[in-house]
C-alpha cells in the first residue's frame, strides 16, 4: 500500500486516496465538432503503460483535492506528485 505525498497535506496512506485514471487528457472545448472517432479517442482510449505513467489522484478522505502523480507501474515507485495545472516536473 502506497504512501502518497499529497501536495496539500503531505504524506498519507493510500487508503485515503482514489485513483482517477490517466492524467493530461483535456476535455475537448468543442465536442460537437468532433467526429465519432475523434470523440472516441478522448472518451475511451487510454495508454495503460507498464513503466512511467502520468495519473490523476484525489485525496478523497482528506483535502478532496485532485492532483497528478508520476508512477512507475512496473514497481509502483512514485516519482513525483504535482498540482493540477502544473507542468510535470519530469518527462
Amino acid at each position: 500500500m502506497f504512501i502518497i505525498n499529497c501536495p496539500y497535506c503531505g504524506e498519507r496512506e493510500q487508503s485515503e486516496f482514489k485513483a482517477g485514471g490517466e492524467a493530461h487528457i483535456v476535455r475537448p472545448k468543442q465536442p460537437t465538432e468532433l467526429s465519432d472517432d475523434e470523440w472516441a479517442e478522448y472518451l475511451f482510449m487510454r495508454k495503460n503503460i507498464k513503466g512511467i505513467q502520468f495519473e490523476r489522484w484525489v485525496h478523497t478522505h482528506g483535502c478532496r483535492k485532485w492532483f497528478n502523480m508520476i508512477r512507475d507501474t512496473s514497481n509502483d515507485e512514485i516519482k513525483a506528485v504535482y498540482k493540477m495545472g502544473d507542468k510535470p516536473p519530469i518527462k
Binding site: 468532433l34 470523440w39 485532485w66 514497481n75 509502483d76 493540477m84
Partner: protein, 1001 residues
C-alpha cells in the same frame, strides 16, 4: 503399545511440568515446551493423517510452519474448534484435544485409502476430466468428493474469542529472530533506530539456538552459547520491541506488512476468557530486514511419503530442542552436508543411526569424517529407490547412482529402519520478498532462487538471501547492514567464525528408480498428493507455463502453498521440457504466508460493528412504529410499516392506497443534498445537467438528469434555486457521494475558472415528504401563516418559512405524482416536525409509508429510479425522456455521446411499460422478455426492471427495457418463466394521471 522416545533432557523442555492432551480421543502426556508434533513423536506416533487424494497414511514431516501432513482439527464440535492447524506449530497445553483430518472413519482405517489402489486411474486432472460431465451429475459427485476429501470442518458455533487490529510504525522491522535477525536487531537498535523484531516461533534464536556442535563456533564458543548471550543482551535494549509467536502474513509495497500476533493459543482453554486471542499488526516500517531463513528440501523418490519419513533438519530439531528421538532405527538420506549435522546430533544424544545414504561420491568433509569416526555407515554415491511399510516406514532399498545421476546400477541393498531423515539441501524462504515486489534470480551452483532486485528500503539477510554457511552469513550481514542502515562501525566486524560445512551438493530433482516412472509414486506435493508422474503427464498434455501446471496438477495449491515441493516441481518441468529454471520462474507466492483465522482478519468488526450504517434523524420514530428496514447504500431506510398480522404485500398495498386516497408521509432525509454557491453556479448546472438552468427563477425547482461523458444516465434529482447564486441540489440516496466527487472533479480539473463552491449537506437536513390529495390541508395546519394557494406556491416552487421557531425550506415537488410537499429542517428538528405532521394529519388518516410504497407509487406514475430502471447503458433517449435533453445548449457532459453511431441506433433497449394479460399476475423483476419462444436460439429482447401490483389501478404494472421498445407500443410479448409463460403487452410507462391533474390539484 506406545513407547517413550524422550532422550536426554533438553533445556527447552520443562520436564517438571507435565501436560496431558488428547489425540484422536486417546490421552497422552508431554511437557511444557512441546509442540503437539514433538509430544506425539515422543510417544512414538507418526501417523497423523491421510493424504488428500489417495488417502495414503501420512506422518509428521517437519518441525515448522511448512508442515504439509500433520494438519489437525482442534477441539472438534466446540465453539473453539479450528481446522487446518499444523501440529508442528501448536504448543501443547493442558486439555488440548486434537484429531486427524481427512480420514473417515478413522486414521487407522480409512475408506478413501482404496483410492491408493485406484491411483493408476486417478492421474492429474482426474477430478476435472471425470466429474465435469455430465454437468447435472456434479452435485452427486461433489457430495462424495467432499465427504472423502474434506480438509477439516469449519466451526458452526459463534467464535467466543476477541481479536483486534493494531497499527505499528517503526524505523526498522526485522522479520525472523534467527542468528541473522538477532544481529540485525541489535545493530539497528544500538544505532538509535526504533526497531521491531518479530518471530513466528515462541522462542528466539532460530536453528542456531539448539546447535550443539564443536564444528560451528563463534569467537571460540559453540554458536548456540554465543547467540544466547546476544539474545540476553537485546532483551534489555529499550528502543527494541520483540514480538514472538508473531508471523508476518503479508508484505506489501512501501513496507506495509500484516503480521499476526498469537496471544492465547498456547493457554489452556479456561485461561483464555476475556483475553485477546490474535492481534493483526498493521506495520509500516521505514526499513525492512527480512531474515526468514530457509526451508529444507525433501528428496523425490518412490514412496517418499510414508509415516516416519521426515526432513533431516526436523529430526535434528526434535532431538536437540525437544529432546525426543523420532525412531529407534534411524536412517538419513541426503545430497549435501546437512544430514551429517543431524547424524552428529543424534549420536551425541545416544540415538541409534543405521546408515547415511549420500547421493554424492567421495567428498572432503569434516562432518562426514566425524560421522564415520562414530562408526556410522555412510553409503556414498547411493540413492534410495524405494521404501516399505504401510503405516510406518520399516525398510529402505538403496542402489548405486550412475556417474551422471540418471540411472541406478548394481545390486539392491536393503536397510531396516523406522525413521528416515531426508535432505535435499535448502531453499531460501523468499516468499515475503517476492510478495513485496522483489525479483529473484536463479543460482545455478546450488539450484536456488535468491533475491536479486529489491524494492526500496528493504533487504534480505542470512539464509533467505542464499547464504547457507555460518561464516558466509556473518560476513555478508556485516557488509549489508552497514550499507543498508548507513552506519560506519559494527561490533561484529572481527568475529572469529568456524564452520565445517562443505557446500557441495548433488542436486537431482527426480531421483532415478529401477522402475518405470508410471509404476512409482514419488510425491512432490504431499498435501495435494501430486507426484512427479502427474507433472510429467501435464507436460505431455501440453501444459508449459508453471502457473498452468500448478493448477492442473494442484501442486502447491494446498494450505502449505507447496513450501516443500514447489522447487522440485519446477526442476522436473525444467528437466522434462528443457526450459531453464530462470526462464520458468516461480509461481506467485501470495499472502498469507501461513493461514490466518477469519477472526484475525475482521478483528473487532463483528456483529453490529461489521459494517457502519447511517440512520436518519427520524430513525427512532420508525423503530417505535415497527417499521421494517431496508439497506440503501449505508442507510437504513424504513421499508414498510406492517400493522399487526399484515404481510409486506398487505402493508404496501394499504400504504399506497392511503397515499393516493388521502395522505402519506415519507422520511426522505437520505436523499443526497449538495449546497451550490458562487457566481457561476447557473453556468455550472448548465454544464452538468442535460437541461437548461440559466432561466430558472429564484424560488423555483427543476428536475435534472445527469449523464456520464459517455451519454449514459448517472444520477437524477430536483435542484432548487434558493437565490441568484445559490442552489440546493438533491441526488439519489446511493449516488450522493459519487455525484459530489464527480462535480468536484470537473470543477477542479476542467473548469477551475468557474466560481462555484460545493458543500455536502446531506446530514445537515432532515426531509419530511407529505403527499396526497389532503397534503395541502395538513401542511397548512402545520404552517398556518403561509399562503398555500397555487398562485403563491405552485408546483415546482419553494418557500423559506418557519414552523413555530424552526426555520425550514419547503418545496412543492413530487416523486409520487400526488400533490406533495417536502419540508427540510435542521436535522435535529426532523423528528419533531415529523411528529407535528403526523398529528396534523391524524384526521386525514395520514399514513407513514416506506421505500417499497414510494417505489410502487412512482412506478404508477412512470418515474424512473436510476440504478433500478437504468444501468450504465441507458441514455435519456433510451428512457424516452427526450424532453429533458436541451437542444439549444452548445455543450453539457455527455451531449456529444448522444449521437455516436451506437447511441443513435433505433434498436437499443428502451424503457417501456408492460401490462400483463391477466391483471392479477405480477411479473418478476429481472425476468427476460422474448417475442418468439419457438425460435432457436431464443432471442432475448430485454428484461423487467420494476414490477408491482397497483392497488390504485387495480392491476399489475411493470417497467421494462426492451430492444426497439419505443416502436412496439401495443405489441404482445412473452415472459417465459420456469413453469409457465406470461403474456404481456407493451404500454406507455406512465400508467396513472398522464395529464398531471393530481400534481396540480
Amino acid at each position: 503399545m506406545t513407547k517413550n522416545l524422550r532422550v536426554k533432557t533438553s533445556k527447552f523442555i520443562d520436564e517438571t511440568y507435565r501436560i496431558s492432551f488428547k489425540f484422536n480421543g486417546k490421552t497422552y502426556y508431554g511437557f511444557k515446551g512441546d509442540t503437539l508434533a514433538s509430544a506425539l513423536l515422543a510417544n512414538d506416533i507418526h501417523l497423523v493423517g491421510r493424504s488428500f487424494k489417495y488417502h495414503r497414511p501420512r506422518g509428521i514431516m517437519t518441525a515448522g510452519s511448512e508442515e504439509p501432513n500433520a494438519i489437525v482439527q482442534l477441539h472438534h464440535n466446540t465453539s473453539r474448534t479450528e481446522p487446518n492447524v499444523r501440529a508442528t506449530e501448536i504448543e501443547i497445553y493442558e486439555g488440548l484435544e486434537a484429531s486427524s483430518q481427512n480420514c473417515w472413519p478413522s486414521v487407522n482405517f480409512d475408506i478413501g485409502g482404496i483410492n491408493n489402489f485406484l491411483s493408476p486411474v486417478l492421474p492429474a486432472g482426474f477430478y476435472y476430466k471425470t466429474f465435469m460431465w455430465p454437468a447435472s451429475f456434479w452435485k452427486k459427485y461433489e457430495y462424495f468428493i467432499r465427504k472423502s476429501a474434506g480438509l477439516g470442518k469449519s466451526p458452526t458455533k459463534p467464535d467466543p474469542d476477541v481479536y483486534e487490529h493494531k497499527y505499528i510504525h517503526c524505523d526498522v522491522l526485522i522479520i525472523g529472530a534467527g542468528i541473522s535477525g538477532i544481529i540485525a536487531a541489535k545493530t539497528a537498535a544500538k544505532n538509535g533506530f526504533k526497531t521491531l523484531l518479530v518471530e513466528e516461533k515462541p522462542y528466539l534464536g532460530g536453528s542456531t539456538i539448539y546447535q550443539n556442535s564443536e564444528h560451528f563456533k563463534i569467537n571460540n564458543q559453540i554458536s548456540s552459547s554465543w547467540l544466547e548471550k546476544e539474545i540476553n543482551e537485546i532483551k534489555k535494549i529499550k528502543n527494541l520491541e520483540i514480538k514472538i509467536r508473531t508471523s508476518v502474513a503479508a508484505f506489501y509495497g512501501y513496507n506495509y506488512l500484516l503480521a499476526r500476533e498469537n496471544l492465547t493459543d498456547h493457554f489452556p482453554l479456561e485461561q483464555r476468557n476475556n483475553k485477546t486471542r490474535h492481534r493483526l499488526l498493521k506495520i509500516r516500517a521505514k526499513k525492512v530486514i527480512t531474515a526468514t531463513g530457509s526451508l529444507e528440501r525433501p528428496l523425490i523418490f518412490d514412496n517418499n511419503d510414508r509415516p516416519g519419513i521426515l526432513l533431516s533438519s526436523a529430526i535434528e530439531k526434535y532431538a536437540n530442542f525437544f529432546g525426543t528421538a523420532c525412531g529407534e532405527k534411524n536412517a538419513l538420506f541426503t545430497n549435501n552436508d546437512s544430514a551429517y549435522e543431524t547424524a552428529i546430533s543424534l549420536y551425541q544424544k545416544g540415538i541409534n543411526i543405521e546408515a547415511v545414504v549420500d547421493n554424492r561420491e567421495e567428498i572432503d568433509s569434516k562432518l562426514i569424517k566425524e560421522t564415520e569416526k562414530n562408526n556410522i555407515k555412510v553409503y556414498k554415491g547411493y540413492t534410495v529407490i524405494n521404501t516399505s511399510g504401510y503405516k510406518r516406514i520399516n525398510n529402505i532399498t538403496i542402489m548405486k547412482l550412475s556417474k551422471d545421476g540418471q540411472k541406478v546400477i548394481g545390486p539392491k541393498i536393503s536397510i531396516k529402519c523406522d525413521c528416515l531423515g531426508i535432505s535435499g539441501g535448502w531453499t531460501p524462504a523468499v516468499h515475503l520478498f517476492t510478495q513485496s515486489g522483489g525479483k529473484l534470480k536463479f543460482r545455478e551452483d546450488d539450484q536456488v532462487f535468491i533475491p536479486n532486485k529489491y524494492p526500496l528500503n528493504q533487504i534480505s539477510i542470512g539464509s533467505c538471501n542464499g547464504d547457507f554457511t555460518l561464516d558466509e552469513i556473518l560476513l555478508n550481514i556485516i557488509k549489508t547492514l552497514k550499507e543498508f542502515l548507513n552506519i560506519k562501525k559494527i561490533e561484529y566486524e572481527n568475529l572469529e567464525v568456524r564452520s565445517s560445512f562443505n557446500k557441495s551438493k548433488k542436486n537431482i530433482w527426480l531421483l532415478p528408480s529401477d522402475k518405470m516412472i508410471g509404476k512409482t509414486k514419488p510425491f512432490v506435493d504431499y498435501q495435494n498428493d501430486a507426484t512427479a508422474k502427474d507433472i510429467k503427464l501435464a507436460l505431455r498434455e501440453g501444459f508449459r507455463s508453471i502457473e498452468h501446471v500448478k493448477r492442473y496438477t494442484t501442486t502447491g495449491m494446498g494450505t502449505d502453498q507447496g513450501k516443500l515441493g514447489n522447487m522440485h516441481a519446477l526442476g522436473i518441468i525444467s528437466e522434462t521440457s528443457g526450459s531453464k529454471m530462470e526462464e520458468l520462474g516461480t509461481t506467485t507466492f501470495r499472502p498469507p504466508y501461513t493461514p490466518l483465522t477469519f477472526g484475525t482478519i475482521v478483528g473487532r468488526n463483528v456483529g453490529e460493528y461489521f459494517d457502519i450504517f447511517r440512520k436518519t434523524p427520524i430513525h427512532e420514530w420508525h423503530i417505535e412504529n415497527k417499521a421494517e428496514f431496508e439497506n440503501v447504500g449505508q442507510w437504513k431506510r424504513a421499508w414498510y410499516y406492517p400493522k399487526e398480522g399484515e404481510s409486506m404485500h398487505d402493508a404496501v398495498q394499504r400504504e399506497s392506497k392511503a397515499a393516493r386516497d388521502s395522505a402519506g408521509i415519507l422520511d426522505a432525509s437520505t436523499l443526497g443534498k449538495i449546497d451550490i454557491q458562487g457566481t457561476d453556479s447557473s453556468e455550472f448546472l448548465n454544464r452538468i445537467y442535460t437541461n437548461a438552468w440559466s432561466k430558472l427563477a429564484v424560488g423555483k425547482c427543476r428536475y435534472g438528469l445527469m449523464l456520464n461523458e459517455d451519454g449514459m444516465v448517472y444520477d437524477d434529482g430536483v435542484t432548487t434555486r434558493l437565490d441568484e447564486n445559490h442552489y440546493i441540489m438533491t441526488t439519489t440516496t446511493g449516488g450522493a457521494a459519487t455525484v459530489l466527487g464527480k462535480l468536484e472533479d470537473y470543477l477542479q480539473t476542467e473548469w477551475p475558472e468557474l466560481d462555484v463552491y460545493l458543500t455536502s449537506v446531506t446530514d445537515h437536513y432532515a426531509t419530511v415528504s407529505v403527499c396526497g390529495p389532503n397534503s395541502k390541508k395538513i401542511i397548512s395546519k402545520v404552517i398556518p401563516d403561509l399562503d398555500f394557494s397555487d398562485k403563491n406556491f405552485p408546483h415546482m416552487s419553494f418557500k423559506n418559512t418557519k414552523i413555530g421557531k424552526i426555520k425550514c425550506r419547503i418545496m412543492r415537488i413530487s416523486f409520487t405524482g400526488e400533490h406533495s410537499y417536502e419540508i427540510n429542517v435542521q436535522a435535529n428538528y426532523g423528528k419533531s416536525v415529523w411528529e407535528k405532521c403526523m398529528k396534523a394529519g391524524k384526521e386525514f388518516n395520514i399514513t407513514p409509508y416506506g421505500t417499497e410504497t414510494m417505489h410502487l407509487l412512482r412506478a404508477e406514475k412512470g418515474f424512473i429510479i436510476v440504478g433500478q430502471d437504468t444501468d450504465a447503458t441507458m441514455t435519456p433517449i433510451d428512457l424516452q425522456m427526450n424532453w429533458i435533453v436541451s437542444k439549444k445548449k452548445y455543450d453539457f457532459i455527455g451531449k456529444r455521446s448522444l449521437y455516436r453511431s451506437d447511441t443513435i441506433r433505433e434498436d437499443r433497449k428502451q424503457l417501456v411499460g408492460l401490462l400483463t394479460e391477466n391483471p392479477d399476475e405480477v411479473l418478476e423483476e429481472g425476468a427476460q422478455i422474448v417475442a418468439d419462444i419457438n425460435k432457436s436460439p431464443v432471442e432475448m429482447l430485454g428484461h423487467v426492471t420494476s414490477s408491482y401490483y397497483s392497488p390504485n389501478l387495480k392491476k399489475s404494472i411493470a417497467l421494462a427495457v426492451v430492444r426497439g421498445g419505443k416502436n412496439m407500443m401495443g405489441h404482445k410479448l412473452i415472459i417465459p418463466m420456469e413453469k409457465k409463460q406470461i403474456n404481456v403487452t407493451v404500454a406507455d410507462p406512465v400508467f396513472l394521471d398522464k395529464e398531471n391533474k393530481r400534481l396540480n390539484a
